[in-house]
Symmetry: D5
Subunit: 150 residues, 10 copies
């Protein structure tokens, strides 16, 4: 048999369509598989490999077939094309880094010394904070400090 594995992009498109047609929120899906919200959303969009069990739970919930589940388990090549990064909703984060990135670097070095925030031993939280002047999007990047160590 010469078949290939369905691409992560195709699997994500099927997940997104099924989610909308069933009227499920991302947090309902995350709850179903018992995984963190941002991780789950990101994995279903193709940025993390799922376990056998996670992939099967999602496909059962969304009534997707085995080819999608197999794709969700595959090791991804991570990243997002530049065109998508300029979508306004994503771009505001890019702009924030362009404005605050050098300050964050200074503060990391000042507080921790020479090193980085890991993007691997790392989690992202997403929350809505009610505010009378307009609710707020609150996103937390939380990564282990890694010092340059020879």
């Amino acid at each position: 048999m010469n078949d290939t594995i369905m691409s992560k992009t195709d699997a994500a498109a099927r997940v997104v369509a099924a989610r909308l047609r069933r009227g499920l929120s991302w947090s309902e899906i995350a709850e179903e598989i018992g995984s963190p919200l941002v991780w789950t959303t990101s994995a279903l969009l193709g940025q993390h490999p799922m376990t056998q069990e996670q992939s099967e739970q999602v496909c059962r919930l969304l009534d997707l077939d085995d080819a999608v589940a197999e794709s969700l388990r595959a090791q991804p090549s991570r990243g997002t094309d530049q065109a998508t990064m300029t979508d306004p909703t994503i771009y505001r984060f890019v702009e924030a880094l362009a404005v605050y990135g050098p300050a964050l670097k200074e503060l990391i070095h000042d507080e921790f010394g020479d090193g980085i925030m890991s993007a691997i031993n790392f989690r992202v939280d997403f929350a809505r904070h009610p505010d009378p002047a307009g609710d707020r999007v609150v996103v937390t990047f939380d990564g282990k400090f890694l010092d340059y160590r020879w």
Copy 2:
């Protein structure tokens, strides 16, 4: 008189040199002018205009002359060149966006509807969280949700 205003880059270089030579941390400077830590660091690196008073307090503290203070008050052209964005300490944030950006977009639309997190009505917090497995860098992006409104 035909003099120009000192560039923000030159002013920042003078601030950075004076800070190091005096052994002051960014948070000591922020405290001195009574402004938030990330905001102050970012402003001193040239990304925000300071008030008359803030610029004078900083220059007094760091023994910098009036030309620096004037530059710190000027309206910036914000942003960071691409070469700096690939410094490893900053790049981890860029990479995190490449991995989690589309998920954050999905979650914002799912929770709030069509719109964005403002990068203007916005604050960034920086903290060190102690952790027995290695302390963590915790950076919070907190922006007002703005819905697409015609």
Copy 3:
């Protein structure tokens, strides 16, 4: 079921073909759904999500099937590829920004202080102004001022 949602690009191509074949103007379509002209055109080209009702009205008017309507309701990833931005009709706006962008920045800061014109709380009007020396294209960008507010 494993079907995906029709892409916004494909839906727009179907809308454009049906519009031409029926000889309808964009303003006749906008009127039909009771929405502003530029918003409606932009939404049908894939830059804004439509409501259930709007998508159904348009598809009824243009005799397009449900897959198109579903695509018109989906959340877009906004933006336009660079090749399209150099089409001469669009490029004149790009050129105008290259010539007047820094002046608009100076004037916004001079009049309002440090901040931006929102591109989200924002509307665009398009009009034809009769002029004996040749009618004029008049495009108005109207966005809420947002001040940098920590």
Copy 4:
């Protein structure tokens, strides 16, 4: 004599510094030389050549010497570098074009036929519109329609 003409960039930096130090607004300068606001600001930033009289009025007002005036009269090479175009205040206009550019193209062709809005026979107006929900930046692009004519 082998001297060159002061660059437009250097002249603009001197104009900007003198304006700030004298506390003059761009509209006060525009009024002084009796020219439209956006045109004047843009010309002083190096995007339009001034007349002998305009250049002398400005330099008298701002106490700048003849080398600046000569530069202000010189024919510019127009445009703005990409780094400046991503400053948030300017970028919102760029983003608006990425979202609405193709719609404006459709509307121009639908209303006027095959052609463009001139960026040469063209004016830009800038206004602040009071609004209880927050004042608005209103920028109008007004260019003569030019049809493709062989």
Copy 5:
């Protein structure tokens, strides 16, 4: 019905194939529809919309079906991808602009004042000039001068 309009690229590929197989020159086609040579060639390659009559004449002459004719009438998004611009036959024009562009700018400003040669109210002629030292390609760009006029 959900059909889209055939792309200009596809229509051009069909025109080019039919032209070669019938052994027709571009000037024979231009003559058939009574339009200028460069305009006709350019329109058939997808850069100008044709009238109902022109599109039908061409498709009759080349035995192409209505889908091609409809595409030829559609409003184009104009421009050529960079890869094609480096084909040696086209690149020589690009190189000539890189060498003579700044001189043409100087001469336009010196002769006409501040403004441009229109690329819209514009025609291009193509001719072969016999020359004993080798015949010459003679291409004339002829556009209306437009002065910067506020």
Copy 6:
């Protein structure tokens, strides 16, 4: 002696300044040295090497010293940076090539066979054609046809 030759850019800046201060047109300079208008302008902007005599005539006319003359005689590295190519006056030529380039390629091959218009055995003419509807900029590219010949 370790001196270098003045750069073509610096020499051009001195020529341009002297020309403006003396109120000479490019055609008066071309006439003075008995060379074609576009060639002379282009050479003085740094795109062609001048002869000893030409360089001395120009420097005498414009009262420029020997270092400029030496630079004008030097072999150039030809071309123009991209930023300059987007100046509106030059860009219209670039845009015309993007629209008509593929048509010119078709016509060259149709009329002459496989080959190119030389950009080396080549001349450019610049003229103003009076026209009651607005005078016209007429630029003629005239190059020897070179066939691909192994």
Copy 7:
């Protein structure tokens, strides 16, 4: 017969799918064909041509048909697209070169003289080194020194 050879990308996708479905490691495959681990993995991903025997062994092991084997034997066009190079697992190597590349150049010249490490007469080893503080990825680049020799 007009058939083409299956692309290396398609062949690699089939190899990857078959490997995962059979639960084989890359080293088991490498062992099977008696070739070095990194070479084999790289060849199966399309970066090296295999011999007749190697290609047949692999396809027998993975139950892939002759079209895949033929593709594996074909001469590749080597390299990896930029998007893949920013996958975090690959990017760390890219970053290491950005940090240590100039140092490696200095050391090669200091130790060997003017020349390079060959990337052709070259092998790469991959190993896991156990370490109580966390196992380590150890990758060795081993290439023949080639001196610049006229």
Copy 8:
């Protein structure tokens, strides 16, 4: 005092010149400060901050003044410009990654699971291996495996 810190680039140029003029090898310098060879070379080229003691030892050895030492201690912005990365000696490493990068990714995931080789908890060794067929450059990348851990 308004002085800035000498740039890492300037400090490196001074180190390189002094090293050559004194005829010292990089390994003699590394030995002097008791640090690993690649680390030391890289630090002196501006990619790592040195300790007070290391910077003073180096400057004593090379007879460089305090401004250089201060620069060597400063926190770097790491990375190398693209032009330098295409120097043939460095480019061979870049090419090797383009050929073997995807294979290394497969092997890391196959052996360790989903994660990366750290480029921070990381060391590089450089060695010359004698070989009768021509000595070999052997460079070892040795980084701690980091698994994606939420």
Copy 9:
């Protein structure tokens, strides 16, 4: 009939497959059609148009059908995408130009005056030169000198 001409890329892929399956060398094919080796290879890869007779001879030899022959006769758009130019075998030529290009320019001007080597009246020879230290690839570029001639 609405058929298009097979693309040069598709034709080349069919030629390459047939060549390999028949075990023919490029020089056997060149000999068959009595044309120079590099020219023939290049033409079959899509960079030169073939004559009716050449295209038929090749297709007879390789048992390819008329659609391939027609494509081989068509006028190409010449050039190679950047990804292919970084294949190591091709890249060495690119690198050689980066190292020796400016020297070749100096030598052409020194020996011939201001002008270029034609890439149109041009031939390339490819040869293998036996050498006890390792056989050599010898590629000769041979083009007519063209002087800048107005």
Copy 10:
């Protein structure tokens, strides 16, 4: 002493100026130092390090001081910026590679197997071949074949 080594660019500019002012050809210089023509030109333009003796001979011949000689001996970072590569005299070589590069790759693999022409064990010859139809520039690339050898 904190002095740096004169950059290769500055040294080359001094060599070029001195060569022109003394009226020496590149081959006279090459002869003086007894080195091949293209190598010598390239080395003096900054692409190869010279020996002590070569650098001193050149500086004596051209009356350049020791700082230039020291720079000529330094290890270069090789390569040429993109702007220079589009100078027409150099670009014709670039274009030739874009047209013939893939053919040369095919021929190298067909004749030698999988491998490359070395650009390090490599020489370039430059010659003028008299031809009644116009003299020819003949450039020979001659590099050792290197087979991919693990």
